[in-house]
């Protein structure tokens, strides 16, 4: 609750410096543990959603999602609301990326640098194009499959897992970066 109060009080300034953003994110680990013994990790929500909507005959989805996952689904619903609040009552949404990155992306054909994600890829009208489809549908699918197989994502492995000094999380995080580097340097130039 203290974390929420702190976040609320500083939420109105535009982009936070890293030394505020990082610790604020990290604080969710102890707050969730103390509130209800919950381990901070967001990808399990994809499993809970499958379990709630399309469990089928698959053993992996046959469990009481309300019992295990309701808190996390509420948390992720809150994230959606928080994103809405932050983007409507904050400062500008233009991301001040480095000049090098801007130039590299322009070479790949990205020209619109307004907003959180390039409109050339992440809009409904871009969805049926090759680059939009790969970015949104293929990317999303890999996120869902990969996090389920690895048993966690950035929050569950990179933050909670590494903070708890788990070797499995270290292996997963090395994998995250291997995959991210391959996609950035080899896949993006193929379809952008």
């Amino acid at each position: 609750m203290t974390a929420t109060a702190i976040l609320m009080s500083v939420s109105f300034s535009a982009d936070w410096p890293w030394y505020l953003a990082g610790p604020a994110i990290g604080l969710f680990v102890p707050v969730l543990l103390i509130l209800g013994n919950k381990l901070f990790g967001l990808s399990s929500n994809l499993r809970h959603l499958c379990s709630a909507v399309v469990p089928g005959n698959v053993e992996y989805f046959r469990y009481d999602w309300k019992q295990t996952g309701l808190w996390n689904l509420l948390f992720v619903g809150g994230i959606l609301l928080g994103g809405f609040l932050a983007s409507h009552w904050g400062g500008s949404q233009n991301i001040a990326i480095s000049e090098q990155t801007r130039l590299a992306l322009m070479k790949l054909g990205i020209h619109d640098f307004s907003g959180m994600a390039p409109r050339e890829l992440f809009t409904w009208s871009a969805l049926p194009t090759l680059k939009g489809f790969v970015s949104i549908v293929v990317g999303g699918f890999l996120v869902g499959f990969g996090t389920a197989y690895a048993g966690g994502c950035t929050s569950g492995h990179a933050i909670s897992g590494l903070a708890d000094l788990q070797l499995s999380s270290l292996i997963a995080v090395v994998g995250f970066f291997a995959g991210g580097l391959i996609a950035t340097h080899f896949l993006l130039p193929l379809f952008l």
Binding site: T4, S11, S13, Y19, A21, G22, I25, G26, L27, F28, V29, P30, V31, L33, I34, N37, F40, L42, L46, C50, V53, V58, Y60, N72, V76, G78, I79, L80, G82, G83, A86, I95, Q100, L105, M116, A117, A126, V137, G139, G140, V143, G144, F145, G146, S155, A158, S160, G161, A163, S168, S169, I171, A172, V174, F176, F177, G179, L181, I182, T184
Partner: protein, 159 residues
């Protein structure tokens, strides 16, 4: 006697419901705080993820490293002091089973590919929908499909 025990049971039930209602509300409020933090720190931005994977700014690394440092210090403190949850149970963090590690290496790499393509991990996907990038609803449904396929293939995959 019977009436008394009934009444006390009812009282306990009401208390439990009230408690859980407040706790559930707290998860929503915490989620709102986290969504604001994700957006204001810009870690939900495809541009920031690209900058990170191109090693052209320390920002994302500073954010992730300081988040881990704060979380690690907090966990160490919780363990050292033997802190309990708000409802009085001991705090436990279940260790992940390592196995042969293949699921972490392969699953992690597959997620990494998706992370760079969408520019978002599972939490930010939801924050982005709130931010107005509504087409990310499709990415979330596609991510559910990916998780669903994993559920089907799980018995055949090495873990």
């Amino acid at each position: 006697m019977r009436t008394m025990s009934n009444e006390s049971t009812r009282e306990q039930t009401t208390q439990a419901q009230g408690q859980s209602g407040i706790v559930l509300l707290a998860y929503i409020l915490l989620g709102i705080g986290f969504g604001i933090a994700l957006t204001k720190s810009e870690v939900v931005s495809w541009f920031r993820i690209q900058e990170m994977f191109r090693f052209q700014s320390p920002r994302m690394y500073e954010i992730i490293a300081s988040a881990i440092a704060v979380a690690a210090a907090s966990i160490a403190l919780i363990k050292k002091l033997g802190l309990k949850t708000t409802s009085g149970e001991p705090i436990t963090i279940p260790p992940k089973t390592l196995g042969n590690g293949i699921r972490y290496a392969v699953g992690g790499t597959i997620f990494g590919l998706g992370w760079a393509l969408t520019g978002a991990c599972p939490g930010p996907l939801f924050a982005l929908v709130g931010d107005g990038v509504t087409v990310m609803i499709v990415a979330i449904v596609s991510a559910m499909a990916g998780t669903w396929l994993y559920g089907v293939l799980r018995p055949k995959l090495p873990h």
